[in-house]
Subunit: 795 residues, 2 copies
């Protein structure tokens, strides 16, 4: 929330409402209001296209190549990268009222409200506008990107001509209004220029779409384009259903980059012109022009067959089912309640229908990070999706398996065995142009293996384990075996890598990385031993399995005996402390204001690293170590990454810092609603959204999901009166509700199960919920954050 | 020397002779035959310009700016770099013989010899050529870049028409030949394209020179240009003196980028047409067009006043004086003798008249490394120049002082105190586009301080110490004080820096860096205490001096107790050994065939680092440590840098590996004559040339030059029968000659002095040389190099 400024959004449990047009927050609202099903993404741009901050229509994995230049190149540097493409914009509906363009910058805006309804899965808009000539209209539009029909988006657009005197008392306005709607498909939209100062922003590409076909029908059209470099073909189609007064004229024309259906009607005051616009999108790297053309025509035919009301109904049904599992209820912090629902909604939108494509760091809500996918997917998004939308999680891992060929090739380039997954990519090729924070961040490979492990534990899906998991595990275990080495003392070391914290790089024996690699090696050994024939087909023999186990057993986990904390990496705790006192607030994020050189050599942490290791491996740290490590790293972690607060929340909760956990949870949840990072205009922070769920479930809920079962250790901060969350577990649905006094475990469906509550076994069946006492909170010594980096108090 | 190929050059003591045109080695010979005085550099291109590999005419510090692009930019990355400019080419003299262009690719080449005469300081050429039409001519040219007149180069060009039958017995050739000479100044020559695969090569820039003025006289012309980006103004003038048969016609014309004096003569067989071409160059960033114009006209007038014979005589006189001090005589290895003289000659050429400009890594012999200056200057070149051409050394350090403002600014950008000198630059701005091997290589600052210390010790020049040295020392000491920090145990640590070895980067407590920083801090304290008033004017007080001494005293020098060797940096000896056995010869240099990621994390060394520390700080290592360290690092050093063999030679000699020292000395000396690195075409390896002298004098000679005096510990390898070298020391000239039995110390001029011979004091005066016994060599355990990287045996 900006100071000196009314809140952009109201606080309501199930909707995000922008009660008035907030031009200053337009980039932010375009992202917050973005609709997506994981395949298609439409930014929350105004129907009429302008004004805008960043127009955006994205298709998952539809990218263009761009050169990656280097002042001094090096062997193995990627020569070209992949960048998300703003595809043909079908959201556009321009309106002319008596020849005056409907443009919020002109005339008089009497009312402008937009509502993202997270139960309906729609973005609606309600406008009362008086043209410069004094004609009043009400414009209502509702937009959806279908979660049930993957290729489909639709818009219901209504214009009502207002009675005289309703908006203005000038005479002569009770006459008919001449309304002209131009509903368009526009390819190669001009994108706004970007400042090149921020390394997180990437150059936009112009005119990447080469026209291949354009056809106009009576009330619709189809455009097919192909990218110049990546040679991907994209089809976009629109059709319109129009109702309203008599005498409506409809015509359509199309040229290479523009198709336009024009709807003209004379509308009396009080009457409404209603247009339903169906949009379909499809793309392919291999299918022919006619095939892609037919694909989008078929999809749009199906959508019209379903109809607008049908699409809306399907959408709600899909979401009802989703929320029945996934909803997190928070009593005692209304802002947080809303933010958590928005977070959960955006996680669903990012992953729901990605279907063996990647889940980008920004989902399909903006072009930040060039549209790339990072470790965010496995470590943050899948942590949620495996428990609330397991099919989407499985598909994301199937995507990883599908890019194994590129990962094998990359490993070979790097002189390694197995697979080296790209640090950032769209379709599998390494797109990182700065290797110390790219290639060197090998932990992504273990993050993928961990996501496999978690997914199998959450779902019990052994078919997935065999068909998808095994090869991912074997390939990543091979990587670690070749990346590390035994030193003369017999320790298995992994030198010169970069852990999650990007304010350090190229260090030896990063604790997070080594613990993750150890688990990767052990779990690969376990799964390979379980599926010997399949493993054998991958060339795995018992010697290789033994070598993984040996390396895992010998894995070096450094510990600073003097400070009695784990160093993030070997030697880390010997480094100079960052001078936080002399670092003014405006020089955050530090990476934009201090050289990497300075950051890397000092004790300052961008994001949870050792603390994330403690989240994932609670048994590898004693309680004292957890407490001491948490306090040590709290004091030097600046949270310049949105991937940090959620993890800090989990470990704050687990070490008894319950109010701090609440604060970090809120920070993670509000990152986009309050634009805390100042860059929501480039897209939603999907991993932080996911981390919100994680903070609730793994932190306050104390959930652990291991092969041997599910356990909880719920704790509730005094500031909240109730938390309730749900999840799927091995075919069941479970809901956990915590109050200050007790925790209720409710098996909603599925076979009876056992779980542990604070280490006590509990048997559950669908007959009746079981309650257990919430343990009293105990006083713990407070921890401190760096100067000026204390999280915001919750009211 | 290439296999299956006659040697390009003959082996002779004082000249480098190319007995026949070797088209395959043309790029190499252009560099080897480059003439320079440190201000002007002319590559050894043919007079007629073609064929060529890389045409090159350079003026010290005359550069253009070019953008430095980054796939992912970061704070503090330099946005633009400086690149050497190929300025107006005045070497060009084209010849037409009866309308046939004199072009070695056509007609019949009966003889083609080029000779670089290191005593005369000239490159001469002797050609017998028969035109396609059968006309025979002898072309003799001699070229010099004046060491006495800094702005001047000159060419004496003679064409003799051959008698009939001399070259061919066809009839009708005893008639007059019509000779046309076109002597030119050409700006914006087209440069050949470069492969972008090699990160060491940089893009050439086209048409950087904008014409400002061109004027033609009767037999000469002047062109003035200005660079587009850097706004530097360059003037070039030529004048001709022509003699020969009657009736010679001379005319000159000039346009923007071309001035041409045309000389036409009808020449009878046996007659000679002789042209002396005087060239003058000047440039300025501040002076006006008329001023630069007048400057080059004045210089050329002075050159004509001196005349060709005068210039030749001055040149020889200058060189006689130089060689009297600097000559290194080697008996027993003729190839090495020649190579050492060539090396010494190129060092002189690089530094002689640089006069407060930089000494680039390639001198002015090519455009390799963009024409940049690195630490090579201080650590390699000045190690020689302070002892053989101390004025040039002083000027190079004055240049460093002149770029202090840029170094202060860079330090501020990096959040540091004092001065942070650029890793690579032409005029003081950091031009490194890869910070782990650029900005992080802070040792350059201590290298500069060490060069100051050495220069003051060599010259006893306390005025220099006060006026130039003090501020350099104070500024660099401040840098180290702010770069390092005291850890909780009280050690002063310097973390996250890169030492000399570029196959490691961003490591903690690099031994070389920490020892150099310690010396820098101590020496700055000493000199500041010696000049309290001047130090006070720089803001130095006794507290600051004390803080330097404290940091120096507490400096952490890591040692591996288990292996009993010094790790190059903390933790280095724990890293995995590079797999040398599986690294085929064609994958060297490794940096072009393996990712930095892989190199940095393993034990593999590009170039001497810890071994260089042992060369500079013999007292910081016990004899056992020297022996063990040398053996340890020998086994992992691949010498992918030309800055390595010379240092390895020094330490091989000092640890008793005398034959190995000889081999490394030869490798350093022959790097360009034998094109051992395969890239001599881009310019001479000036630091390796300098290292040749260092290997002889510091290695075999065992010289140490400390504030308390000069000492020697000569050792002679059995393969050589005599080494003699000379040097200047505190206003004296001294010659040291070593035979298997004895060492002769000869004070050639100057006041009586004392020195030490193998720790024994010796008193010397000019009356008579003193001899002392050469100690017998003792057997030492052999050391091994990495598989396939053993240096070549000497025959």
């Amino acid at each position: 929330m900006k100071p000196d400024h009314l809140p952009t959004f109201t606080v309501e449990p199930w909707v995000v409402r922008e009660p008035r047009l907030d031009m200053d927050a337009m980039g932010q609202s375009e992202s917050v209001f973005a609709l997506s099903n994981g395949h298609i993404g439409l930014r929350g741009n105004l129907d009429e296209g302008e004004p805008h901050v960043l127009p955006g229509t994205y298709l998952n994995s539809f990218y263009e190549v761009r050169p990656l230049p280097y002042a001094e190149a090096g062997y193995g540097y990627p020569e070209s990268g992949q960048t998300v493409v703003n595809v043909t914009n079908g959201k556009l509906i321009r309106l002319l009222v008596d020849d005056e363009p409907f443009d919020l910058r002109y005339g008089t805006l009497r009312r402008h409200e937009r509502v993202l309804d997270m139960q309906a899965g729609t973005l609606s808009r309600d406008v009362e506008w008086e043209s410069p000539a004094g004609r009043g209209v009400k414009v209502r539009s509702t937009r959806l990107v279908s979660l049930t029909q993957r290729a489909i988006a639709a818009i219901c657009y209504e214009v009502e001509v207002m009675e005289t005197g309703e908006g203005d008392d000038s005479a002569g306005k009770s006459e008919d209004a001449l309304l002209v709607l131009q509903s368009e498909l526009v390819a190669n939209e001009q994108l706004p220029g970007r400042g090149a100062d921020d390394p997180r922003l990437e150059a936009a590409l112009d005119n990447v779409l080469e026209p291949e076909q354009s056809r106009a029908g009576d009330a619709g059209a189809t455009l097919v384009h192909r990218t110049r470099g990546s040679q991907l073909r994209c089809g976009a189609a629109m059709e319109h259903e129009v109702s309203g007064p008599e005498g409506i004229q409809i015509s359509t024309d199309a040229n290479e980059d523009l198709a336009r259906t024009t709807i003209i009607a004379r509308v009396r005051p009080g009457e409404t012109l209603r247009v339903v616009k169906y949009l379909s999108y499809g793309w392919s790297s291999r299918r022919s022009l006619p095939a892609v053309y037919d694909q989008v025509r078929a999809a749009i035919a199906a959508a019209r067959y379903t109809g607008w009301d049908g699409l809306v109904a399907e959408q709600r049904e899909y979401l009802d089912d989703f929320w029945a599992t996934a909803d997190v209820e928070i009593d005692g912090d209304a802002e947080l309640q809303q933010a958590i629902r928005l977070a959960t909604f955006h996680i669903l939108q990012a992953g729901a229908r990605a279907e063996r494509r990647c889940i980008p760091a920004k989902g399909l809500t903006g072009d930040g990070y060039d549209g790339h996918t990072f470790w965010d997917t496995e470590t943050f998004c899948l942590q949620v999706l495996s428990f609330v939308a397991p099919d989407a999680a499985a598909d994301a891992l199937r995507w990883r398996r599908s890019i194994l060929p590129q990962a094998f090739e990359r490993a070979e380039t790097l002189g390694l065995k197995g697979a080296a997954f790209p640090w950032r990519t769209i379709r599998g090729h390494e797109c990182s142009g700065y290797w110390p924070a790219g290639t060197a961040a090998f932990h992504i490979n273990a993050d993928i293996a961990d996501a496999v492990r978690r997914h199998v534990a959450a779902t019990g899906d052994t078919t997935f384990e065999l068909e998808v998991g095994l090869e991912l595990l074997v390939s990543t275990a091979r990587l670690w075996r070749s990346l590390g080495h035994h030193d003369s003392a017999g320790n298995f070391r992994i030198d010169g890598v970069t852990g999650p914290d990007e304010y350090s790089a190229i260090a030896d024996n990063n604790v997070y990385t080594n613990l993750m690699a150890r688990q990767n090696l052990r779990y690969a050994a376990e799964v390979a031993a379980k599926h010997p024939r399949a493993a054998s087909r991958l060339g795995v023999d018992s010697e290789e399995i033994a070598s993984w186990r040996d390396a895992a057993t010998a894995m070096l986990i450094p510990f600073d005996e003097r400070l009695r904390v784990h160093p993030q990496s070997e030697g880390f705790t010997d480094h100079q402390l960052w001078n936080f006192e002399d670092t003014p607030a405006e020089r955050y994020p530090l990476l934009l204001n201090y050289p990497y050189f300075d950051l890397y050599r000092k004790q300052v942490i961008k994001q949870a690293d050792l603390v994330l290791a403690m989240q994932i491996f609670p048994d590898e740290f004693t309680d004292e170590q957890k407490r001491r490590n948490f306090a040590y790293y709290e004091a030097i972690t600046v949270r310049d990454s949105s991937l940090s607060a959620c993890t800090q929340s989990v470990m704050a909760a687990r070490t008894g810092h319950l109010e701090l956990a609440h604060q970090y949870l809120a920070e993670a949840a509000l990152v986009d609603l309050h634009d805390l990072a100042g860059n929501t205009d480039h897209g939603m922070h999907i991993a932080s959204m996911a981390g919100t769920w994680t903070a609730v479930v793994l932190g306050f809920g104390g959930m652990r999901c291991e092969a041997d079962g599910l356990s909880f250790a719920p704790v509730l901060p005094p500031s909240l009166s109730r938390i309730s969350f749900g999840l799927k577990w091995q075919g069941r649905r479970l809901r956990v509700s915590m109050t200050p006094d007790e925790v209720e475990y409710h098996l909603l469906d599925g076979a009876p199960m056992r779980l542990r509550h604070h280490d006590e076994p509990i048997a559950l069946d669908v007959e009746a919920p079981v309650t257990a006492p919430t343990p009293p909170s105990v006083w713990v010594e407070p921890v401190e954050q760096p100067y000026g980096r204390t999280p915001r108090q919750r009211a």
